[in-house]
């Protein structure tokens, strides 16, 4: 028997919401980037589930583009973290208030 599509949607929504709450409540920038990874993975689960249930490969191809964006985000984000740590020697988001008014 097949698992209904709604189960996958519920699973990916739970993971996405976990990532969203993680971005909102954590102070560590690295954990915030990890939460963004959680959200991207939730969308990937949705893509593959829909691709399986509609019997088309477009969803699986789009996972590749999500993966590209995730890799680019990780490279640039970690470089920004290293640059920030070098200038302020902290990775706490409360210490970076340059754009806050």
């Amino acid at each position: 028997m097949m698992v209904p599509l709604s189960y996958y949607v519920i699973l990916s929504t739970i993971v996405f919401l976990t990532g969203l709450v993680g971005v909102l409540i954590r102070r560590n920038i690295i954990i915030i980037l990890l939460s963004i990874e959680l959200m991207l993975n939730a969308t990937n689960i949705n893509f593959v589930a829909f691709s399986h249930y509609f019997q088309t490969l477009s969803g699986q191809v789009f996972v590749f583009f999500t993966l590209t964006v995730a890799a680019a985000e990780v490279a640039v984000g970690l470089a920004i973290i290293i640059a920030l740590y070098r200038s302020k020697s902290s990775i706490n988001v409360d210490d970076f208030q340059l754009l806050k008014w």
Binding site: L11, V21, R27, H52, Y53, F54, L67, A72, A75, A83
Partner: protein
């Protein structure tokens, strides 16, 4: 059997993704994310996306997570970081959205939803295999987005080098 596998993978994915957010030490968060990536790969295998499962393990668990662990170890951060001051607000938002999800999910039964509704492409992945089919689609229909993806990776690589290099633009005396 398939349902059993789904519930195992889904349970571990939800548990580890909550642990990623809840754990104090960034190293433990990253390792928990590693377990989550492996179980997402297992979920892909049950969804007949074997090539994506391999790519998930190689790229996410092999490359991205190593990068995270490298930066965590490089910065040598102590586990003094507490939660943000807007924790109640964020938790309230999360609980609200989760309640909304469950209300939507259990509003009506999805038991009679069609298992295989539409056949958009007459592609037969069982005949040629998952990897070959993905390759054919990727290099014919999605050729231009594929090129754009490579451009994005190039720009990200150059940007990472520029950001992480120490004294760029400063001439040596």
């Amino acid at each position: 059997m398939e349902t059993l596998f789904f519930f195992y993978f889904a349970g571990v994915i939800v548990l580890t993704s909550i642990l990623v957010v809840a754990l104090r030490n960034p190293v433990y968060s990253a390792l928990s994310l590693l377990i989550m990536f492996f179980h997402v790969a297992g979920l892909y295998v049950t969804l007949r996306a074997e090539f994506l499962a391999a790519v998930q393990v190689i790229v996410y668990a092999g490359a991205i997570l190593v990068l995270y662990l490298f930066v965590v170890m490089l910065l040598n951060v102590k586990r003094e970081d507490r939660f943000h001051a807007q924790l109640p607000l964020g938790a309230l938002l999360g609980v609200t959205l989760l309640t909304e999800l469950f209300l939507l999910a259990f509003q009506r039964s999805y038991a009679n939803e069609p298992a295989r509704p539409i056949l958009l492409e007459p592609a037969a992945p069982e005949v040629t295999g998952n990897t070959e089919t993905i390759g054919e689609v990727l290099y014919s229909t999605y050729l231009f987005p594929f090129e754009v993806a490579s451009l994005i990776l190039l720009v990200a690589m150059i940007g990472a080098i520029v950001l992480a290099k120490k004294d760029i633009g400063v001439r040596e005396p």
